[in-house]
Symmetry: C2
Subunit: 121 residues, 2 copies
DNA sequence: GCCACGATGAAAACTTCTTCTCAACTTGCT
DNA sequence: AGCAAGTTGAGAAGAAGTTTTCATCGTGGC
């Protein structure tokens, strides 16, 4: 049976509180404030579980290790700060998929904007 | 001094011939047709050198190891085939960078379209 | 053609990220 | 409270990609 432990509650809460995609390391750092003994292995195990149960989805970014964000949100893209490495959600999508050469079938797309976040600007 | 060897010539030629971004593994396979003894270490060393001298640029894609393509091309984006894993260049860019929340400064962006390439469709 | 020195290839080592192992600890049912 | 079983944390191990090592080979200047 799946148990509700301090660790798992802390990790869930962190995602609801910060409102941006997090890497396993970031999850560890933020959730450690709630459960100081927390270990990285538990973070990975919990992230895996939360993805399977549909609470989180992985976010892949160019040249970056995966982040995770709450699942079920509307189509959107991401902003990666080049200085602090934090990722933010961008609402909306301005991409018009024209220009596809003949024979190519698009099934989806990813847009990543790079730059400086408000804290680093 | 930088020497012109069979291996380096072969790797350069491969990029000019295939016209799409290549991973180190793909470079190895394609250049081996010209120089069968070619080893992966040489591919990595040569790619590094070709990037430094400005002939190639790295291409980062979400959740994928880097590819390399000839440098100096106009702004463009990429198509990743989910079946064969090959990457293609897409000409043009339809992205309008509105919707940036206040305080965020954009410096660049990446667009990746996922789907099936003509050979896999 | 000779030869110094850069380049090569195979394997080992390294990095970074992720998963596994296992003894100790918690949770939740009774 | 007592206990069975799931969970945790630390470190070891694993996976994937890249770099280094080193003996040997090849290039290019003389």
């Amino acid at each position: 049976m799946e148990r509700s432990t301090r660790q798992r509650r802390a990790i869930r809460e962190v995602f609801l509180e910060v409102g941006r995609p997090l890497s396993p390391q970031e999850v560890l750092e933020l959730a450690k404030r709630k459960v100081p003994s927390l270990g990285l292995a538990t973070v990975y195990r919990t992230l895996k579980g939360l993805v399977e149960e549909g609470f989180l989805t992985p976010v892949a970014l160019p040249g970056e290790p995966p982040r995770y964000e709450p699942a079920g949100r509307a189509h959107h893209h991401h902003f990666l700060c080049r200085l602090c490495g934090r990722v933010y959600e961008l609402l909306g999508c301005d991409l018009a998929l024209t220009h596809l050469p003949p024979g190519f079938q698009a099934e989806g797309h990813e847009v990543t904007v790079f730059g400086r976040c408000p804290e680093c600007a």
